[in-house]
Point group: C2
Chain length 398, copies 2
Amino acid sequence: MADLLIRNIRPMGGEPADILIRDGRIAEMGVGLEAEGVPVEEGRGHLVIPGLVDAHTHLDKTTWDMDWHANDQVKTLRGRIDYEREQRLEIGIDPARQSMRHALGLIANGATLIRSHVDIDTRHGLAMFEGVAATREALRDHVEIEIVAFPQSGMMERKGTVELLDEALTQGAEVVGGIDPCGFERDPKGALDAIFGLAQKHGKPIDIHLHERGELGAFSMELIFERTRALGMQGKVGISHAFALGAPDWLRTQALIDEIAALDIPIFTTGAPSAEVPAIMRLKEAGIRMGGGCDGIRDTWGPWGLPDMLHRAEVIGMRNGLRCDFELEHALHICSGGAAQAMGRDDYRIETGGAGDLTLLQGQTLSHALVQRLPRPLVVKAGRVTARDGTVIGKDMP
Amino acid sequence: MADLLIRNIRPMGGEPADILIRDGRIAEMGVGLEAEGVPVEEGRGHLVIPGLVDAHTHLDKTTWDMDWHANDQVKTLRGRIDYEREQRLEIGIDPARQSMRHALGLIANGATLIRSHVDIDTRHGLAMFEGVAATREALRDHVEIEIVAFPQSGMMERKGTVELLDEALTQGAEVVGGIDPCGFERDPKGALDAIFGLAQKHGKPIDIHLHERGELGAFSMELIFERTRALGMQGKVGISHAFALGAPDWLRTQALIDEIAALDIPIFTTGAPSAEVPAIMRLKEAGIRMGGGCDGIRDTWGPWGLPDMLHRAEVIGMRNGLRCDFELEHALHICSGGAAQAMGRDDYRIETGGAGDLTLLQGQTLSHALVQRLPRPLVVKAGRVTARDGTVIGKDMP
């Protein structure tokens, strides 16, 4: 927590102002602010938004900055998962080193808050959790990393996985993860009862990967709705991907959307260009909290992606067919303040009392800044400067 | 047409070699080549592919390097077309200046060949054609620009448009364009008879924008097939976008694909992430020629896009769900040699006798180069160096 005065910046693209951060929070906003003894940064008229947020990524998976990983893999979800579980050791994806590289890339490009799913399975035990937890600790002054204990290889067929998740949650994982209860786990009741059981035991929220499409995804959602309501977990259960909401049957998806809104279930999207993604403007209309995420980047699943939430806002924007400025601003919002809200933090706002987590952007307007994607002039976490012009301050790439 | 010796480059990502260009064509390939009096470039082990090709763009539309154009427009195709027709003058999209900026961006990023649709309508006459033709002439040593005389505002309702297209073709437009015969023209027989009539009169090929989806697009395609066959124009009629090929009914689309293959109709795709695009790997299987294009970039239609065919190969690759290296190489191919083939040029090959149009890429492999998207070390058009490390040689931005 630090003090900082940033002069001449444009909050959310508006008129130039100064922002004074004290003890890591926005203490004052106005023109011509003075604060004796407080470090000063010149904002040079750049735009400022709440810190960029990656609300759905996998810090333990990337091959970023390693040799190119040539891929000739099969295309089923299970095939990719099995392949990755072995390739991790084969090509040496060290979870501490790689999560550090991935997170530093995100920070350099303006991120101040990250939710990372981290694989936990009986082949590797807690190795990935420990690696990412080490990065979380090493970067605690730069970025807040929230770890989802994620059973990527499934819990139902691989006995012992639930116990490992339980242990990770005991050791400090913040969120209970899960994966397709039908399509992957093959036992929706068993899988969801286990997930909600862990959440109840540890008093922690849930974030479930749901790649299932159409009616299968809708069925899994209904099972999630039932448990959320029965356990009074409104607002605490999130769904990632939620491809079933991209199905073409408008009436069917509207019924799901209405239920999601009623149960305050946040939706996390990566805007996957080859999948049936939820329409972000439709979910906005319904008042649903949403967060964007870059998902895995350059890993054994696939080659695409950058550790840059403006790039992800572009992917989400293009996938959603957004053209107008107010739409682009919403794409940016779900990769910034909106994503923080979806993660349960309501203080990502450029206003007095808001978090001192800020990212400066270059552009005439917010949309222009999104589309140009120029280096971020300044990134601030709780009043500390963490990156400048695309370079992280105080940490080197391992 | 020039001579050039490039040392130590990796043709299509293979083993290092030298390439000698004489009179604008590849004269010799091998290790340790010497050629007295011929300029030498050091390739420093970079990859080399045939020049990048933008096979579907709109050089006359971009606001690139102008003030940000805020957009609150309606979302129908007709609404966007009407809006643009007036905004061109309102915000001053000078076709000569803007096409120069757009083309210079493409060259800087490795393009050596461009097909640009250019709006021709009764509101602006041949102004856009003349502007882009001026750029074509000014850049003739840097890039080959092929102009499609394109009735963006339709021919059927706006009397006099066919005559303007006729005049543009007389003045040197290389290709006859067209737009949705049903969805936009509202008179498929009238529109297609006019398009094919112009093509027959001028002995020039056709490239029709087909945004129509599902059965409507299939119907328009059938009308195009009938005329192509009746007039013996196999190989001379192309379809851009072809969203109907992305419809989910596999049997229906396969029948269309089979017909397209039989009539040798090249398909041009932009990989639009929010539309039903043709699957490039499926069309490859069917032996159909394909070209990629960046479409309009940062124009009154929408904010997205860059003048960079590696960016477009990424958009196409992500939209098509490509993950494996051989798939990524195909995405790159349809933005390079494959696009040239789709435009009727078969000499975009790194082999003796091939065009001396080359682009160097940075990466361990072709897929790695595509994904990294680093500045192009060298771009060569007919043996002349046109760009180096992302900067055009011999032409400044207007």
